[in-house]
Amino acid sequence: MEGCFDGAVPPVIATCATDGMPHTTYLSQLTLVDDDHVALSNQFWSKTIANLADNPRASVLVTDSQTYETYRMALCFERRDTDGPVFERLRVSIEAIAKMMGMEEIFSLRSADVYRVLSCDRIAGPTQSR
């Protein structure tokens, strides 16, 4: 799943408010923290953050840029890093993506949001027959 963490294909995150209404948006990058955790780039989220404050559960779709396999991850938000090694790793990568797209000011990293991975299921890929 190395290609899931290079920022080449934007992942999707869904969260849910306490009134039951879901919310979904793209993010720039997912990065691997350890065997049980991933970090997601938070650049311009407001509703997503508001939802996570009351309900830490999230669902993420991520596609491997090398194999084109897609995974759905069930996540539980744990903490928000605004400095430290995970934040720096994401910041450097996001800056590169932003420069490529000419969106440096819009794409600056606010935080690296760290989640525990509850499950990860392959849901699509090029090996499926049609």
């Binding site: 294909v9 999707v12 995150i13 869904a14 969260t15 849910c16 408010a17 306490t18 039951g20 209404m21 879901p22 919310h23 979904t24 948006t25 793209y26 650049q43 311009f44 407001s46 509703k47 309900n55 559960r57 999230a58 669902s59 993420v60 779709l61 596609t63 840029s65 084109y68 396999e69 897609t70 759905r72 069930a74 969106m103 819009i106 794409f107 849901i123 699509a124 890929g125 090029p126 499926q128 049609r130």
Partner: protein, 155 residues
């Protein structure tokens, strides 16, 4: 009232389509869609990838869904939220036509932003189910300072 015409036009312009539902414990499930159309009265019919098994199982009249549509070239994005009019349905002839139209518009536009054709084929759902929601809210989701603002309604 929401500007249905503007939203419908945007859906037909070659946009990526993703959405989500949530269960009674507020656990969300993200999914991809492959084609959508907005009809009279603000009912949006979308074709959800069949791998969204939890969404398929829990959908009934009144189930809340969100859907985000993003132009693959300029990243202009709209998120709509609403409630399902009923249970999911198998795709009919009109849905198949919608899916084919979506392929025809999205494929060349994706090539312009460098998306490899093999990647587009890999994420294209093998099968879909149809959901219809009544739109209740719509937001500008374009990355930047206006993200999250409600779309202007028709005067």
């Amino acid at each position: 009232m929401l500007n249905y015409g503007a939203i419908a036009e945007f859906l037909d312009s070659g946009v990526s389509m993703v959405g989500a539902s949530a269960d009674d414990q507020l656990v969300p499930e993200a999914f991809r869609m492959w084609g959508a159309s907005l009809g009279d009265g603000g009912v949006l019919r979308a074709l959800v990838s069949s791998d969204a098994g939890q969404t398929f199982e829990r959908m009934r009249q009144g189930t809340r869904l969100c859907m985000t549509f993003t132009d693959v070239l300029n990243l202009r994005s709209i998120q709509v939220k609403g409630r399902s009019v009923g249970a999911p349905e198998p795709p009919g002839p009109a849905d198949v036509a919608c899916l084919e139209r979506y392929d025809e518009v999205l494929t060349p536009k994706s090539r312009l932003n460098g998306t490899p054709p093999a990647l587009l084929q890999a994420i294209r759902p093998r099968s879909v189910f149809a959901v219809s929601i009544v739109l209740e809210e719509a937001y500008d989701q374009t990355p930047g300072p206006t993200a999250g603002t409600r779309l202007e309604e028709e005067p």
